[in-house]
Assembly symmetry: C2
């Protein structure tokens, strides 16, 4: 959930000047359109980690737009007075009416996350409260509220450094309260609980945007840009609905198709770009390591405790990333009676006649067995998204459906390990050429590979959103830099062994 | 939930002949259209009470349609083998593909209801499983599956009589198993748990139809008619979506607007018609009773335990049903400092700028207080539905939203009492005329009242669906026959006192 909010996003001064002027102007215009049309309300939820710039962002949004038409409310944990009313009561009292913008600094997430993280409530109660939130948000969206959910994140390291910096300066030391120190101590637990909250409430129609909070310029622009796109998306949907009503009669009226706004990178950092692709292993070291980790995997996979567990190992990666050869290094360590490799291509006719997850439900490993997926259900949010094989609304709801699916597998004892084999475009090109030139590799390169390569930026974007939305505590993604195959294979084996070890 | 499935629905022989021939023909046609288009799958869930005709209905559906394109599967509680897989696994294996019809006799509801009803599982676990079901069904619908959820019901009396009849005949006595007797003993608990399951899984896009199971002709025609309408609705939505795509471009494509098929009554019995409108009270008896119950209400409302509870009393009824005068009889017993009467008319401008439940959240009684609603949030599914003031999709999702709302109030200590004052159209006419002729009542009758009266059948239908979908264990509806005002007022006071007593 928080992967791409820990890579040091940073906006340069020149860019800031230019973008802040543009966004400021556009936001104000959008705010007035909202006000004049009076058909939608906008509600911005501001949550996240201490010190990640929530308050500053709220202030900036108020400064950039016309604050007379914005209502900002702060919500902490429930007070005893709040507890006398239904949980949602205090939020209902201050919902923004149509035409207006509401900013909730802290929200209906604050108390459930805090209460569960601090051990004051059971997990069952936490899950129930999240479910109530989901119903509530679904209702708001159906009633025409544009819900913008922002989560400001700091890595543990960044959070620690922030406190240190504040404390070291007598002018700011007073800002560090015992509560801050206590929160830092509970950082891991807070993130774990937040991960579950975000995962279970990322509806297609109101999903979270996680923003890295360490650079003020980056976080402000991210929030502002996201808000602008949400408002523009709502205007566009309204217009389309009005148009289709006129054309097709009342049956087509409240059209709720979600469209994806164009993605504008604010800096050149991205989850895939920040990987270190230069690491490599010498053949002799590689061979020793391979033997070591394959031996370990052989033992782990034959451990008696594995009879009550199953393994689903998912490989995804750009063309020529090395999925097949990596899988072979893994199966060499496994007992052929207990694993199967499932290569996933375009769905056949039977599969197209079913919900997209259907074909993967059929391959769920029995307890004691392993299934290795060479591509997987993530095709929905990768190739199907990029190639337009399904509607935006369909792949946007898929993140939640996939998280739900993986949680069900987990509950049933399946250990899920998801690997993204990351290569650079340069390395892909090298491998493509090699395939063309080597006779026995010739069959592995087709015109389609070259076509896909042209869409590299769209795929990259889809991969990053996939990892942000589906890397969960239950089933995290491992991104493995794979320009060097030796390095990559050992990394994969190591991740796999460590995760199995932790699960047994 | 089960109100209108306990009123002795019964289809006459002549009607049966006529309707069964018509439906049989239409279903077969629809089945072939489904098959030829190959764009949607239909999945029918058959659940309910023992002996309510589930098996017979499944057989009839197979007989009426082409069984080669129907796949019927039976599901009981999970076996130990099932438990080795994720819960939904066994259902995924046999989902009908596009073009086909699947009938699940027993379904993903069977095990959660049975496990919780028999005490094998906690309430929290039950709620979690229902939530998983909700997600799953939402996904199925989004993937284009038409989900038809049928619940066959028998009143406790009917269930008991059925067993007796079977036992009394040596030819059928063998059919009564110890399990049947055990189930009958647990009837109340089973119904209570089922009520929660149905309430929490009646999504707008896949709501339950509860069918009274005592008369074979009635239950068969009900199920068949509902199935036919669901299929025809899906065809219509497809056509509309195709049309609007052509007209308005891709943005308007997957249109999910729900349309309400015309309602065809199979017999003349209905929840409102079966009330006994002839009951009355003599003035002298009435005055004694009034004093008695008002005294009781006065004591109950001043009970110290009421400081931790609140009361929301909802009055709905046709025009001139006596809401105002009944409310006065209640407030006479209350302390003016602790109650307020909220008359609900059409929403004003501020209210229209918010989600429809917003204005009612504002009137939630504080602990220790009472609020009496003269009309209420049920306007959404009554006047707004009948007058077309909101789209079908909006009032259809409202049942679930209202149930959720009332459950939240309940959790916060609010006792909800909902009264439908039922009058006959003849009595309404009499009262309208009286209002026209009595000078000081003249202001109470307007041309709008006469207009509403013309839509009596549509209102009646809306009322019955409202009661079926929102009368829950948490907040049941009381239907009070009110042609005689004396009788009605005492009944209301009695229900109110009894419910308060039970809640304290």
């Amino acid at each position: 959930m928080f992967e791409s909010a820990e890579i040091g996003h940073r906006v340069e001064k020149e860019r800031w000047k230019q973008e802040s002027a543009r966004l400021r102007h556009a936001l104000l215009q959008a705010q007035y359109r909202l006000l004049n049309e009076g058909r939608t309300a906008v509600l911005i939820l501001v949550n996240g980690v201490d010190g990640a710039g929530r308050g500053e962002t709220v202030n900036t949004l108020n400064e950039w737009m016309d604050p007379r038409h914005i209502r900002t409310e702060a919500f902490g944990p429930q007070t005893p007075e709040d507890r006398k009313h239904p949980e949602m009561w205090r939020f209902w009292q201050v919902l923004p009416p149509k035409g207006r913008i509401g900013i909730f600094f802290g929200s209906w997430y604050t108390d459930p996350v805090a209460s569960f993280a601090r051990g004051g409530e059971t997990h069952a109660r936490f899950v129930q409260r999240l479910e109530r939130i989901r119903q509530f948000e679904r209702m708001l969206v159906a009633e025409g509220v544009v819900l913008v959910k922002l989560w400001f994140h700091l890595s543990k390291k960044a959070a620690r450094e922030r406190l240190k910096t504040l404390q070291s300066d007598p002018k700011t030391a007073w800002r560090v309260t015992p509560q801050d120190k206590d929160n830092l101590r509970r950082y891991d637990r807070f993130i774990e609980v937040s991960d579950e909250a975000l995962r279970k409430t990322s509806l297609g129609e109101a999903s979270w945007l996680v923003i890295e909070g360490s650079d003020p310029a980056y976080r402000t622009l991210s929030a502002a840009q996201h808000l602008l796109q949400a408002m523009q998306g709502a205007f566009a949907r309204r217009s389309a609905a009005d148009g289709s009503t006129a054309a097709a009669g009342p049956a087509a009226a409240p059209d709720r198709v979600l469209q994806q706004p164009p993605f504008l990178a604010l800096d050149s950092r991205s989850l895939l770009k920040v990987q270190d692709y230069t690491r490599s292993l010498k053949r002799s070291v590689y061979e020793d390591e391979l033997e070591h980790w394959q031996g370990k995997l052989a033992l782990l996979s034959r451990d008696a405790r594995m009879h009550k567990r199953a393994l689903a190992l998912v490989f995804e990666g750009m063309d020529a990333a090395g999925k097949g050869s990596t899988i072979r290094r893994i199966t060499q360590a496994l007992d052929a009676r207990f694993y199967r490799v499932v290569p996933v291509a375009a769905p056949n006719e039977n599969e197209r006649a079913q919900p997209y997850l259907w074909r993967f439900w059929r391959y769920i490993p029995d307890l004691g067995k392993s299934v290795i997926f060479d591509r997987s259900w993530y095709g929905r949010v990768l190739v199907e998204r990029v190639e337009g094989l399904c509607a935006p609304a369909d792949w946007m709801r898929a993140y939640g459906e996939i998280n739900e699916y993986e949680e069900e597998l987990c509950d049933a004892g399946v250990v899920i390990v998801k690997i993204w084999l990351a290569i650079t475009p340069e390395e892909q090109l090298r491998r493509f050429r090699e395939r063309e030139q080597t006779l026995y590799k010739n069959f592995k390169i087709t015109p389609e590979d070259w076509r896909n390569r042209e869409k590299w930026p769209q795929y990259e974007r889809a991969v990053e959103e996939m990892i942000d939305r589906t890397s969960t505590q239950v089933a995290p993604w491992y991104i493995v830099a794979s320009d060097n195959k030796h390095w990559s294979r050992i990394e994969v084996l190591r991740h796999l062994c460590q995760r199995l070890e932790a699960a047994l």
